[in-house]
């Protein structure tokens, strides 16, 4: 379709993407230049370009929706989640800089791959076109597979990368097959055009055809979000990769996948959903099936994640199961298929970002002190490192959902949305699972503060940079929902999706 925008006008909409692209080329070339360099410089270079992209994105927060180059969609949801991934990668780079157990191997490539993943995420969240969505998903995925296997002589890392690439490629292949079926039904990759066709199909009573493609597409999203029954890779991969990369997979890659899922469901099926006035809403039998599918997945995911976490001793494995459980909570908001549900899912994703990044930062901090990533390695360290210890307690309270943290309010919104969307059993299950999660989160706090360190306790140096980052994230976990501009942007962004 012809676009009213001229090429140069269109270019200014994708300046953040341009900044990241230039940045990743610069990092790659910098790494190839001859001469002795310290690995840190690449990280600072990447951080600089990410900051530039973030500045450009902040300028674009209040821009009206536009589609440029026929495929790239610039709207509030896209911009908010581009900021989300940019800042998440920023934190991951900072974690990497603060990590004292540097091996020096593959550093330049790590920074390059993190920026590639950022670029892929930009396209994943910023498009209404299913082919570009697939391309974004794969750019993010391929960078993540390579990131997982970057340490060549590490057996765990190699195994993690292998499991990740096989399951990931399978899931995205199945998603693509589902997209091809949707394309055959609707004759277009554009979500808005699909929505128009699907309304017609539903009026003719043919919406049952939609079930198979929807199921196939959900396999792809389910893998990225580690939803049951596509979660098997997550614990092995998180344990096998370095802690900053695990944080990126748990937070960045999951957050943008959630944004893409919300956009896919809210736009493609907008004719079949039950939104308020101003939308196309009309309930059909397909709507009921979709709610059932999503809510069963959400319920099974939180059950599995929380129950399996109970018997873990490795911190990263425990956090992997915990992040599976949280993916279940977030999907519960989507499953309600209401505007309130989407909003609470997006808001909780931001809270989850603070708490989970913090929790992985905590693992990094204490692993630097004790050299161990097991819960037993934490013994007594909380008293020696009060700042990190207190921050950890905040993250754990937030992940459990205890008041007064943002985790409590975020979960409360999700449960209210599910309750009013008719998914009462799911809201009750969430409350029950929060109680279960108290047991395993408390084990970490207990190891930190209530266990005697014994004689062999290492007297590690403080790590002020990492401590500061943890304090920042802890403040976010406590007060994030009071920080209205960002939350408004998240809530507003969903509204722009479903009114058109």
């Amino acid at each position: 379709m012809p676009d009213a925008l001229s090429y140069l006008d269109a270019l200014k909409y994708i300046l953040p993407e341009v900044a990241v692209t230039v940045g990743l080329c610069a990092v790659l070339i910098w790494d190839l230049l001859p001469g002795r360099k310290r690995s840190q410089e690449g990280a600072w270079l990447s951080l600089g370009f990410l900051a530039l992209a973030a500045l450009l994105l902040i300028q674009r927060l209040d821009w009206r929706e536009a589609t440029v180059f026929g495929m790239v969609r610039v709207d509030p949801l896209a911009t908010v989640f581009k900021l989300f991934i940019t800042s998440a990668v920023g934190f991951v780079l900072a974690f990497d800089l603060a990590d004292r157990r540097q091996t020096g191997e593959g550093k330049g490539e790590t920074y390059f791959l993190l920026l590639t993943a950022t670029l892929g995420s930009y396209f994943l969240v910023g498009t209404n076109n299913l082919i570009l969505l697939y391309l974004g998903l794969e750019t993010l995925g391929l960078s993540s597979y390579a990131l997982a296997g970057i340490h060549k002589r590490d057996r765990f890392g190699a195994e993690a990368a292998l499991k990740y690439v096989v399951y990931g490629a399978l899931a995205s292949g199945i998603l693509l097959y589902g997209v091809s079926l949707l394309y055959g039904m609707c004759g277009s990759f554009e979500m808005h055009e699909m929505a128009r066709y699907l309304v017609v199909a539903a009026d003719e009573g043919r919406s049952a055809q939609l079930l198979l493609p929807t199921l196939l597409v959900m396999v792809g999203f389910g893998f990225k979000l580690s939803l049951f029954p596509f979660q098997w890779w997550a614990p092995d991969v998180y344990q096998g990769v370095s802690t900053p990369v695990a944080a990126f997979l748990a937070v960045g890659s999951k957050g943008v996948a959630l944004a893409a899922l919300v956009r896919f469901i809210a736009v493609t099926y907008s004719g079949l959903l039950r939104f308020g006035e101003g939308t196309l809403g009309a309930e059909t039998a397909f709507t009921g099936d979709l709610v059932l599918l999503l809510s069963l997945m959400a319920g099974a995911t939180m059950l599995f994640g929380n129950l399996a976490a109970l018997r873990q001793t490795n911190l990263k494995r425990l956090l992997a199961y915990s992040s599976i459980g949280h993916a279940g909570y977030i999907l519960m908001g989507v499953a309600a298929l209401t505007e309130q549900g989407f909003q609470s899912a997006v808001a909780y994703t931001f809270v989850y970002y603070m708490m989970t990044l913090g929790a992985f930062g905590m693992v990094l901090y204490f692993a630097n002190q004790s050299g161990s990533e097991d819960i037993s390695g934490l013994r007594g360290l909380g008293l020696k490192h009060p700042l990190a210890g207190v921050a950890t307690v905040v993250f754990l309270a937030g992940l459990t959902g205890l008041p007064p943290t943002a985790g409590f309010f975020g979960k409360w919104y999700l449960m209210t949305a599910a309750w009013s969307g008719g998914l009462r059993w799911l809201a009750l299950l969430t409350a029950l699972m929060s109680v279960v999660s108290l047991f395993y989160y408390f084990r970490i706090a207990k190891a930190l503060f209530l266990t005697d360190a014994g004689e062999a306790a290492p007297a590690g140096r403080r790590n002020p940079v990492l401590g500061g980052l943890l304090a920042l994230l802890a403040a976010g976990s406590l007060f994030f929902l009071y920080f209205e501009p960002l939350l408004d942007a998240a809530v507003f962004s969903v509204g722009s999706l479903i009114r058109w």
Binding site: I131, Y134, L135, E138, L142, Y145, A146, G149, K152, R153, R155, F156, A158, E159, A160, A161, L162, V165, V166, A169, L170, G173, I174, L176, Y177, V179, S180, L181, Y183, G184, G187, S188, F189, P235, D236, Q239, G240, R311, Q312, R317
Partner: protein, 104 residues
């Protein structure tokens, strides 16, 4: 030949690919299965575009989408093979069931 012939071949390719991945006999086998799945989707895209109601004049999105997917499949194969090569040199096997160093 009509659309349904192409779709049948596509569905068969998809199923063969799934079985090859699920059988987990050999990692190269698994990667071939993954490629078959992508090609099944590609065949669908191209066929749906060719038999589009109203003709394909001015609507080539399916064909172009398929080209994108071919490029991605190449990139994916490159990364997957690199990872398999590294696994092979560390574990000295490419049977998926033998590669299990991490336990619950």
């Amino acid at each position: 030949m009509g659309l349904s012939a192409y779709l049948t071949v596509g569905a068969l390719l998809f199923l063969i690919g799934l079985v090859m991945v699920a059988a987990r006999r050999n990692l190269i086998y698994v990667l071939m299965g993954l490629e078959l799945i992508l090609n099944a989707a590609n065949l669908n895209l191209v066929a749906f575009n060719r038999f589009r109601p109203g003709g394909m004049e001015g609507h080539l999105d399916g064909q172009i989408g398929a080209i994108f997917v071919i490029i991605l499949a190449a990139a994916e194969a490159a990364i997957a093979l690199a990872i398999v090569l590294n696994v092979h040199s560390l574990f000295e096997t490419i049977r998926p069931d033998d590669i299990d160093a991490m336990k619950d």
